[in-house]
Symmetry: D2
Subunit: 361 residues, 4 copies
């Protein structure tokens, strides 16, 4: 539903690059949960640009303010309004681009859809729109951790042609992910990825990548067939992130090449429950979690705004050369880590609350 | 939301394998549109099992009845109820499986979620649930074709390791797709795919595959940022189809390996509008259609129910060997073609109606 | 949302007078609940026309068929499809009315809205549309009775100028309500009401009335501020019933004439909980149930279709006299009793499931 | 949906009395509409307490800030975030009430529902929650006025036993309504109402009242049967306002006493269209607007918080006397005028956008 997401745990985001602020209303947060700004700020800081040499050098403080829904450090059960002021606005950077729609950017489609567009070009397709998601997701994560022990960890698994190897889902931590700037827990790959990004930047180009995310300790039973299957809701949430082009859960596209006898996950009895010996399915069967790790991958295209000259046409259809000015990320995947985590948390929190409707009184 | 999908063009499906029937309520269909059962039956027949030697040999007539919303061959604007009776039920086929949850099937998760399960095992995860989708999708398609000239065509682009080559999006027709049983318009690949499927069947195994779908003639402007982006809604719809594990739009995961300078689609002026020279984006920018072809791929895992012996455990956790009886598709992708088309049509119809809210009076 | 109602316990109705059938899809019904057609039929029989001399003499059997969602007498947790075939169709009765829109009927507005209208005139404004509601409401009621001990009883409290006296909310039963044809538990008033209705019928006129409904044993805590307050959801549900024009909860409009000191319900301690000494509020404070009886009143206008000659104009704007043919209820309130009960049950069931999201695991 | 309302024109409100601020996210506002803070402030000022001697003397400036969705004085089509800071907080006024739940107030039910409550007692049942509604409603009104010429005017039609006479719906203006403090356009009744309110205040008591609202120039065709009928949506919206207990459209409860022959609105031909000679229906037939004035009444109970001593019990069930401190409105209806107008505008704007889905391209 446009700028709202979720049924019981529901968010409504607002804001674009050059307005007063961006934020979110989070409805359905369980009452009596401890919550303070620091719980949210930690993920906003991970999302923030200018963290290191791999990202744009815009310094956006992105301090969150809790407007409502919390009193004396406890949630009230009422909607939580969150606001982050926009500070570092340089609309002049977009001047030249106002005549030429950026190839593969939302400049043109926003204008086609709304008959107007924000001075920043792509309006809500801006990366700043994701601040509200990350802030809301931090609350969802806290709820899931406290009530279910759920842990959600995303990392960069590919940049360009470089793929991470040997990531152990079971023992991965955010500290391991954040151990390097590229947020890849495979240090060898991380080094190569970093070089790829710096090279792209030096060449005024950009580069794509893939994130993987694992969600541990989900209870069995989450996901609402037919249309709110866990993987459907995750796919929806992930493809709503700017620059995403693909989603796969479990073995995904690779599994489509396999035989059933090789792809199926046989059952065993472990830790007092039916478990699976393998987990090619990615923790979901028939749209419902089976208590194994849920893991999925999200493809991000290379950012559309590049400094390299592009032969294109302007809004009047006249041939034009575009060399984008301003500070632009050569690769979004390191900063996308907390965004993917947030979206996963929002989906799972919603499905967890919905499943409670089947609890006995 | 569970068994409902859509905001303005909205469906609510019902039914599982061994009940009286399956069907759907389709709300929001524009009034004064010609509609007769044959418009719907044609896609149901394409979905039906037992069509050829590649599929299960269950003969399910699957005749649709229009219960409401149509009078004298015209839609009234009121909800259209559609019903397909279940006929060929053989619950005894599932007897042995009632003690052993099928690996990678929904048998166990349905039980975990609902504390009960249908005699057929997976309940709504059954392929029969998709009948309502296909029936509703046929109505959505008719609306899109008449009002916008939109054409939606899906085909099998991979089976196992076999990939189709050289499919021309612009001139593809459903007749070309249906020219062979495997529904791959590349006849060379189709032959190889067919062999793969027959071999898997002979070995009592199953095999996965990939569908590609192209949607032509979409107007610019469809898709509702931030959360109802066109690609997000498509991903959601596709991952809600049983057995799907992945989705990618445009260059998808392959694009994530690229540089921006190589991936971007520069603009040109063509046919009186700004068009793109290439279409690596898959017809969508910032979540909004740009009037180029929308195309995407959907990964289907190999069917979980196989005749081959599987070492697993029963519901009590005791070691067991499962050799599934009954008639099961060795590969679902040929029959999934009309399902993918239907889901695409439902998403696009909904977004098209929503975009009308921005029309002047 | 148009023909759907509810968030977790959700219905989608379909059907009008002269199509194959009317029905409903009920999603969100808790699994493992006993359910058989008779549980539903009992309320459909109370809604059915032709029950007695006060109603239209159309004999509509209105047998419900459970299409899905139930197996071996137990709900599966999947959507329950319900169908009632239309039998007694006499479209010719509407012949003369096809040229003249009935005053205060939906004939004209349906045509204005949809640019087409069903042969029966008002399309979905037909009383037959309520069959799906009553059928779904019977399931909701069963759930509420079994899980919470909730009882919902509506009765006719006014017909024209005649008002019922002395109805004891605490001891009222449906048997007491059904003890007379007019469904008013005050036998003196019932006799007068019955005379009013028969007189109106004899004069080919119609007459309005009011229903009161009491809901007993609601737990405290149901209702979702700000917009899904219990009374807001009830008002919405009641005003969605054909022919309704008003709703009030507790003292309603009469309370608006009072002082706070006279209207407030002071607390006492009773049965181990804080209770109210009086219940002028109607069991709801701030949009949330307080465990006292919820009661409300619903105003029904006199049916618009009357045999008496009406001076009006036809669709071309030419002066015309309309004398409606066919069998029409002179007063809808006796038959509306199960409809009001059903709508109340649907609202409460939905809010009860939503409130479960605040239960600890 | 809890703190969200609407399908296409959709709001999500947040905030309670003693947090940082209250506000709303308004999604679905058509793009390219002129909008500045003054368009919103004008209605907030009418809602503000402390405007005159009839209301509480809290001076709340309630200045609105537009956070997003507007650039250069034009709407972008993206969500509009609106924020009003809380300034005049005196939580100490609520000290004594923290031990004793106020009779007929939400203190207890909020605690029952959420297991916690805000220091102000009723949390979101606070009148401050309505600021977001009024702010959003002002935007909806502007859209409706510019696109359809719709005018929405509410006024106080009753205070206690005093009823306004002779209000001419056709020529009423907001200036006429605001000509006196009580906002009743009948000056004689207004004087009596004012005395009633001042007397109640002097006696530390409160008094109820009724608002009437007329909506002029609605096009025919708004309202979505079966469940989003215009009157159902209006009833829902009105009963979601704090302190409301009743709703009636057209002749409402009075019409329920009438015969059909007296209540029906015959058609005539006027101004080039089919119109009705009378308008007892209140501009709606079968849930759909018929282009006549829509008018309805809303009952407000007397405010629950009064200074007069009330014999009740505290949270432990012990007998207690409550004499509420602080500044409380003796009568809410004058200030409720812009709230009712806002809620009407929000409902109509949503239904108007939805009806556009039936426009031809």
């Amino acid at each position: 539903m446009s700028s709202s997401l979720g049924t019981l745990f529901r968010i409504s985001t607002f804001g674009e690059s050059h307005c007063a602020g961006v934020g979110v209303v989070v409805d359905g947060v369980p009452p009596r949960m401890k919550l303070e700004p620091a719980d949210i700020q930690i993920q906003l800081d991970r999302r923030r640009p200018g963290q290191n040499k791999l990202a744009t050098d815009r310094d956006e403080a992105d301090q969150v303010e809790i407007l409502s829904g919390v009193e004396n450090g406890l949630t009230l059960g009422s909607p939580i309004g969150l606001l982050v002021r926009n500070k570092d606005q340089r609309p002049q950077d977009y001047g030249s681009m106002s005549q030429i729609p950026r190839p593969s950017h939302a400049d043109l489609t926003y204008r086609q859809k709304y008959g107007i567009h924000a001075s920043s070009g792509g309006g809500r397709s801006s990366a700043r729109e994701t601040i509200g998601r990350v802030a809301a997701g931090a609350i969802a994560e806290k709820f899931l951790a406290e009530e279910y022990g759920i842990e959600i960890i995303a990392w960069v698994s590919s940049v360009g042609e470089i793929d991470a190897q040997d990531v152990d889902h079971a023992n991965l931590t955010r500290d391991l992910v954040d151990a390097n700037d590229v947020r890849c827990p495979d240090p060898v790959a991380a080094q190569l990825m970093s070089e790829q990004i710096l090279t792209a930047r030096a060449e005024q180009d950009s580069i794509g990548g893939v994130l993987t995310c694992v969600c541990r300790n989900l209870p069995a039973g989450l996901g609402e067939p037919a249309f709110d299957r866990l993987e459907a809701r995750l796919a929806h949430a992930m493809l709503s992130i700017p620059a995403t082009k693909g989603f796969e859960v479990g073995y995904g596209f690779a599994g489509a090449k396999m035989r059933g006898s090789a792809h199926n996950d046989p059952y065993c009895f472990k830790n007092g429950r039916l478990a699976t010996l393998t987990n090619r399915s990615g923790g979901v069967q028939g749209g419902i979690s089976n208590a194994e790790d849920v893991y999925f991958r999200v493809a991000f295209k290379p950012p559309a705004t590049i400094g390299l000259a592009q032969q294109t046409v302007d809004y009047q259809g006249e041939a034009a050369t575009l060399e984008a000015k301003g500070r632009h990320d050569p690769c979004v995947v390191p900063r996308a880590v907390p965004i993917v985590e947030a979206m996963a948390a929002l989906v799972i929190a919603d499905l967890a609350l919905i499943q409670k409707m089947r609890q006995p009184l």
